[in-house]
Chain length 114, copies 2
């Protein structure tokens, strides 16, 4: 059973990442997302991080790897809901989330995938 539920919204997989996601849960999420992308033929993965007020380098790397694996499986990843202070911290750390789209809201993220 996953710690983070993955929700189907039409042809998009939606995940809302909560605080305090442990390393093992991130690995499980990566695995489940990859399997669900193949099983559902999803066009994209939408990761909502609006709850997070910190994105450290571990989480940034996890997001990057999810996006890379998803891209290899012919889908795109959009990170939505990033807080301004998170964006500033990521920029300061040089973590620019390559290979990922970002959108300010779920609605805009869905639009970006269509």
């Amino acid at each position: 059973m996953s710690v983070v539920p993955i929700v189907d919204i039409d042809d998009v997989l939606f995940v809302s990442v909560g605080d305090e996601l442990e390393d093992q849960a991130v690995a499980t999420l990566q695995q489940e997302l990859a399997e669900r992308v193949v099983a559902t033929r999803a066009r994209g993965v939408l990761i909502d991080i609006s709850v997070l007020d910190v994105v450290d380098s571990y989480m940034a790397r996890a997001l990057h790897e999810i996006a890379a694996a998803t891209a290899l499986l012919s889908a795109r990843t959009v990170v939505v809901g990033m807080r301004p202070e998170v964006a500033i911290t990521l920029a300061e750390l040089g973590l620019t989330l390559p290979g990922m789209l970002t959108a300010l809201s779920v609605r805009e993220g869905l639009a970006a995938l269509r």
Copy 2:
């Protein structure tokens, strides 16, 4: 005689890569694919890797080189049938198969080439 048969599907060359492809066989496959692309005026090369449960850095590099040579010969390469766990491992290793399209199935790969 090639170890890996190359099949014409209309204007696309189809190759199904089996397990345990030796280095010499990969080199032969690269050579034959390049020659067949020119000889048949193929629009694309479809490489099915659904049998593989591991894609190491050598295989990733070989796929990349096939795609690069194919692109220089005006055709596109689509890798199809990648397993979720293979995608995750490639992402972890930072092997993102640049210059290649991916598709989940042969049918979707053919559609991507048309």
